[in-house]
């Protein structure tokens, strides 16, 4: 017995992704986490390299919005993103914005 069902690769990438998601339910959340961390860590480290300091709340907000932009097209088809995952994504983006707007110091523009 195979560990998971091999997806049918001849009927379009959406079917392949949905069948992969059925076999490995954490596939899409892990993909979102990967995209978030690549943008977040890449942005903060490159900014620190260039300027000596990094704006962590700003990069968290950018990463949250970027993941949200990736997640929205995936909501068009059933089976890729569920409501709970999308809700958590939206709330993480809002929390990043919360952190970002409160982190602005005096004299610093939005």
């Amino acid at each position: 017995m195979p560990l998971y069902t091999i997806p049918n690769g001849t009927s379009g990438i959406d079917t392949t992704l949905i069948e992969t998601m059925e076999s490995v339910p954490s596939f899409i959340p892990a993909l979102f986490f990967f995209i978030f961390m690549v943008i977040f860590l890449g942005g903060t480290s490159s900014q620190r390299k260039r300027t000596g300091s990094s704006d962590t709340p700003m990069w968290a907000t950018i990463a949250g919005l970027s993941v949200l932009m990736v997640a929205l097209p995936l909501t068009l088809t059933a089976g890729l993103v569920d409501t709970v995952t999308l809700s958590i994504l939206v709330v993480i983006t809002i929390a990043s914005g919360f952190w970002f707007f409160l982190s602005r110091s005096r004299g610093e523009a939005f």
């Binding site: 949200l68 929205l72 909501t75 068009l76 088809t77 059933a78 993103v81 569920d82 409501t83 999308l86 809700s87 958590i88 939206v90 709330v91 993480i92 983006t93 809002i94 929390a95 914005g97 919360f98 707007f101 409160l102 602005r104 110091s105 005096r106 939005f110």
Partner: protein, 143 residues
């Protein structure tokens, strides 16, 4: 962070929250998406309550503007009472509690662990405040 900056930050947080929630739910409605954030009652409630709180904030601002232009100061008065829009902070309190409640229900599922996280962050902020006060008292420069 001054008081005006704080109120503006809270206002931007409320606008940002309304924008994100409205964009995601409208995207689903416009494109007939299978997963629609508008089906979740918590988000529609947060959206409508934040919009209502911003209307209150707008009314407070207009009242304060009228208070500034139409106020009078009696001769030899000791105290000049300023308009109260940046004093009662009703908008900031309501909108922050609305956004935090959304985080609690959606990320933590109403679990009390959220309050542990908030307590930890609050403790850290209090610690930073105490250190700033101590440094200011000792050397006169908090940084």
């Amino acid at each position: 962070m001054g008081q005006l900056k704080f109120v503006v930050s809270i206002l931007f947080i409320a606008i940002f929250t309304v924008a994100v929630v409205a964009y995601v739910s409208n995207f689903a409605t416009d494109n007939n998406a299978n997963i629609n954030l508008g089906d979740d009652e918590a988000f529609t409630t947060v959206n409508s309550s934040l919009r209502g709180q911003m209307v209150v904030f707008s009314r407070d601002i207009n009242d304060s503007s009228s208070g500034l232009t139409q106020s009078t100061a009696a001769p030899a008065a000791d105290v000049f009472k300023s308009p109260s829009v940046f004093q009662n902070l009703r908008f900031t309190r309501d909108s922050v509690s609305t956004v935090l409640e959304l985080m609690r229900t959606k990320v933590f599922g109403g679990n009390p662990a959220f309050f542990i996280v908030i307590a930890t962050i609050s403790t850290f902020l209090v610690f930073k405040a105490v250190v700033y006060i101590y440094k200011t008292f000792k050397s006169g420069d908090p940084d």
